[in-house]
Symmetry: C2
Subunit: 88 residues, 2 copies
């Protein structure tokens, strides 16, 4: 079993009103020096079995077709931890 993380962010050229709202609120809250904020989604998937190249390719396909809207969003897939102990 392994945890695979898919991060989905709006492409740099796409306006991100949520991120902008956060960024503009920061000085008011006393936090200076943050010039940009982008807000996106993080998916943590618990995948059964070992995450080999075939499994990773499937997850990539899943992210591309289902978790991200690739017209406006970029995504990254990474294996965060491989749990090899018995019973996990």
């Amino acid at each position: 079993m392994a945890r695979v993380v898919v991060d989905v962010m709006l492409k740099p050229e796409i306006l991100d009103p949520q991120g902008q709202a956060v960024q503009r609120a920061l000085p008011r809250l006393g936090f200076e020096g943050v010039s940009d904020v982008r807000q996106g989604k993080r998916f943590e998937l618990e995948v059964d079995g070992p995450v080999d190249d075939a499994a990773l390719a499937r997850i990539h396909e899943l992210a591309e077709s289902f978790l991200a809207n690739t017209v406006i969003e970029d995504f990254t897939v990474k294996v965060e931890e491989e749990m090899v102990e018995a019973g996990k």
Copy 2:
């Protein structure tokens, strides 16, 4: 300038209906072997100046007080890339 990433996820004991909806949809879409999905938020902050311990402490405070609802959410702060070239 540096990019700092704040990941905000619901605590493990908190029900995550969005993640569940994704997880339940997967077999229907032909993706088997994903036993759990959690959906959270990812914030990418462009921070001016070097990210030293003081800056990191401030960002931690920001995440705790503003980006995450610590009653139901956990967060992690990590410096993703430090841009040291002139002009950045």
